[in-house]
């Protein structure tokens, strides 16, 4: 019997001493976390996508709290939650939030199988980055989409898929949260985050080819050849021409659609606009005039 009591007493004593030590240690080395971090993290979507530029949602919450202590939430945006979540975050932190435009990923390449002839057969690993090692990919275009689907693999929201007919990725605008994972993954920088625009309407140059006009024209039917007609057509100075490539500034664009008509190659696209009634045949006639236009350029 004695033996049992001794054991109980020794164990009890060890337990008691350990408990006291642990209690003291927990008091002494306690890490005080700002309560607000937990509260902010709770309203975030918990996708941990990293689209905000911070490691996961808790990292972003910590950054928000720090920014709020600094006086402003400017530049902090959860692309997944968007404006609604940022307003909640601002409410917790007692700050005002600047209005931000919702964005969407745009694949700036229209080099479909029909527009851009495949010049070689590639039968290696289906990955853009691997394809890049062996040259310009299946087409002769050194800038456009490779169609390997690295962006599809990078998207955590299932917003991207390769259309087997065109060989190009398509963005599901409902699912796209503009986290930017695809933009970072694309080895050719084809994908861009652009403001969704009023009523989801926007004007985009669907080409990233920076070769000279003659070269760009040869490799793809829908390439921008840098002729500059759109720049002249634009009344709002929204279009700039850099390295033989036109770019529409979404901030300045007023959606007048003049550039779309001016483009001899049909590289400028009006997205989500209702179809035009009177001039429905226009793109077809423009396409036949391509060779003459190119010579001028």
């Amino acid at each position: 019997m004695n033996v049992i009591w001794i054991a109980v007493i020794i164990l009890g004593a060890v337990g008691l001493v350990s408990a006291i030590m642990l209690y003291a240690a927990s008091k002494k080395f306690a890490v005080k976390e700002d309560e607000r971090i937990g509260q902010v993290a709770e309203v975030l979507p918990q996708a941990n996508c990293g689209g905000c530029g911070y490691p996961g949602c808790s990292g972003f919450a910590a950054a928000c709290v720090k920014a709020a202590d600094g006086g402003s939430l400017e530049g902090k945006l959860c692309p997944v939650g968007g404006q609604a979540v940022m307003e909640k975050v601002a409410g917790i932190l007692g700050m005002a939030v600047a209005a931000s435009e919702p964005k969407v990923a745009v694949v700036r390449c229209n080099g479909t199988c029909a527009n851009r002839p495949r010049v070689v057969d590639y039968d290696g690993v289906r990955s853009c980055r691997v394809q890049l090692l062996s040259g310009t990919g299946e087409t002769a275009c050194a800038f456009g989409c490779l169609g390997g689907g690295d962006c599809v693999a990078a998207c955590q929201f299932g917003a991207l898929s390769i259309n087997p007919e065109t060989g190009l990725p398509e963005v599901d605008e409902e699912r796209c949260t503009a986290c930017g994972a695809c933009v970072k993954t694309c080895p050719r920088r084809v994908i861009e985050l652009r403001p969704k625009g009023p009523k989801n309407r926007r004007m985009v140059v669907l080409c990233v080819n920076r070769d000279k006009g003659a070269v760009a024209n040869k490799v793809c039917k829908a390439s921008c050849i840098g002729c500059g007609k759109c720049v002249k057509a634009c009344a709002f100075e929204a279009i700039t021409l850099n390295n033989n490539l036109a770019y529409i500034d979404p901030e300045k664009c007023k959606m007048c659609r003049k550039c779309e008509e001016a483009c001899p190659k049909g590289a400028i696209h009006a997205v989500n606009f209702p179809p035009r009634k009177p001039k429905a045949e226009k793109p077809a006639t423009a396409a036949t005039g391509v060779p003459a236009e190119t010579k001028e350029a």
Binding site: G124, R129, V130, S134, G135, T136, A140, A142, V215
Partner: protein
């Protein structure tokens, strides 16, 4: 017989053109000189449109230490400076020259007489390196690393021996083999020049024993050159890899990057480069032509050409009897490490050792099957790596795991993919992972 210890494979040799003497390829109508014919900074053009150039005229000069000049291989007029799709598959700046006649620079000694080092006692080591650089010589086995850099050992290192890479372990290729049979004396003098340049008195010429005629000829001739020894090697791919060759001949292992062969006292040069060094130093002839093998199972007359740099590949194929009907792939280089060409107008450049025309059936890859964990790739890897792991890590974008398992040590020889019974595209992924990891390491070191 000597060989390297770790890994290696033995693909069927298919050296169809081994008995075809080197013949001169015709002059092209227009020669195209890429400015990216070497590793390092691209050359800077010094000619403009309309300039008249001769054979051997400098077209573009070296831009920095790790860079070499580009010389014209033809005489004529500069047509334009524009982009051309070169063997890399990318459009890169190049100089186009319209060919008129065949007018050589007077400084080039065109006599066939042999000039030995004994006849030129005034040559110093510095002078040799200077001439090698001025003549635009690069590693002609395919790596195209500027030759003068290798001949200038970095501070704190000491060369102990020169190793001449005459292994030609790539199947199909015979350019080096023919060169050894036809220019043995010039090559041996070239070896003495390299030995003098790096200040050593021991030179080895490593030749695989599938070239017994070359071994016999060079062994006989080498008796007149003290310090040079011909080392027959067992046939095993990738024995032509720098590190494998050093291991095979000296038994020393080059440590993982950033260590270089010079850290174990070896200076390795390709046999074609050695011949080019001889011509540059003794004959003042810049590197503007090279031996290139054009071969393939369906090629009518597999040949070894002495082709001018800038000749379009299509012309060489024409001279071999035209493109066979069922050609599926045209590879610049050998079948193991070569790269498929995007089109046939790709010009011959300083690193073009061969042109392989594969039939449609040969060029198709099999459907990849799941890995069966047989470990053949691990056994075949000459660098002692784990290819299956590196490939998976790269495919899953686990860069830190790939780096941990020394992906940067991979020499991209393709032995893993060659042995894989499941036909898994390991090298594709490893290459991608290697370039990514190397970029990450560079970015980290730059910080």
């Amino acid at each position: 017989m000597k060989t390297f210890k770790i890994g290696g494979v033995h693909p069927s040799e298919n050296k169809f053109s081994a008995n075809a003497p080197i013949r001169k390829a015709g002059l092209p109508k227009q020669a195209v000189f890429s400015l990216y014919q070497h590793i390092g900074a691209p050359a800077k053009p010094v000619v403009a449109k309309g300039d008249v150039v001769k054979v051997g005229t400098v077209l573009a000069e070296a831009d920095g230490f790790v860079s070499v000049p580009v010389h014209s291989s033809v005489s004529g007029k500069v047509n334009k400076i524009d982009a051309v799709v070169d063997a890399s598959g990318y459009r890169r700046p190049a100089i186009f020259v319209d060919v008129e006649g065949d007018d050589w620079e007077e400084s080039i000694d065109r006599t066939p007489d042999l000039v030995t080092l004994a006849q030129r006692p005034d040559l110093t080591a510095e002078e040799i390196v200077k001439r090698v650089k001025a003549c635009g010589i690069v590693g002609m086995g395919g790596a195209t690393f500027p030759c003068h850099v290798k001949l200038t050992p970095p501070k704190g290192t000491k060369a102990e021996c020169v190793i001449i890479n005459a292994v030609e372990c790539e199947p199909y290729l015979t350019a080096d083999h023919r060169l050894m049979l036809e220019k043995p004396d010039e090559i041996l003098v070239g070896v003495t020049l390299i030995m003098k340049a790096v200040g050593v008195d021991k030179g080895y010429i490593g030749i695989e024993n599938n070239k017994p005629d070359a071994i016999a000829l060079l062994t006989e001739k080498a008796k007149a050159y003290p310090g040079i020894e011909v080392v027959p090697l067992r046939v095993k791919y990738p024995q032509g890899g720098e590190k494998q060759l050093i291991a095979a001949i000296t038994g020393r292992e080059v440590p993982a990057p950033p260590a270089l062969p010079i850290h174990v006292g070896a200076v390795v040069q390709n046999v074609g480069t050695t011949f080019a060094i001889y011509e540059a130093v003794m004959k003042s002839k810049p590197l503007f032509e090279r031996v290139i093998t054009v071969t393939g199972k369906d090629v009518k007359t597999p040949s070894n050409f002495l082709a001018r740099i800038g000749t379009p590949m299509a012309q060489l194929i024409e001279e071999c009897g035209g493109l066979p009907e069922a050609t599926g792939k045209v590879i610049g280089g050998g079948p193991m490490m070569g790269k498929a060409l995007m089109n046939l107008d790709v010009p011959v450049c300083k690193g073009s050792s061969g042109l392989l025309l594969m039939t449609e059936k040969e060029s198709r890859r099999g459907e990849p099957q799941p890995c069966i964990r047989c470990g053949k790739c691990v056994g075949a890897c000459p660098m002692g790596l784990e290819p299956y792991l590196l490939a998976t890590a790269s495919a899953l974008r686990k860069w830190d795991l790939a780096e941990e398992h020394d992906i940067t040590s991979c020499i991209e020889c393709g032995s893993c993919q060659y042995t894989c019974p499941s036909m898994r595209p390991m090298l594709d992924n490893i290459r991608m992972g290697k370039t990514t990891v190397m970029a990450l390491v560079r970015a980290r070191n730059a910080k």
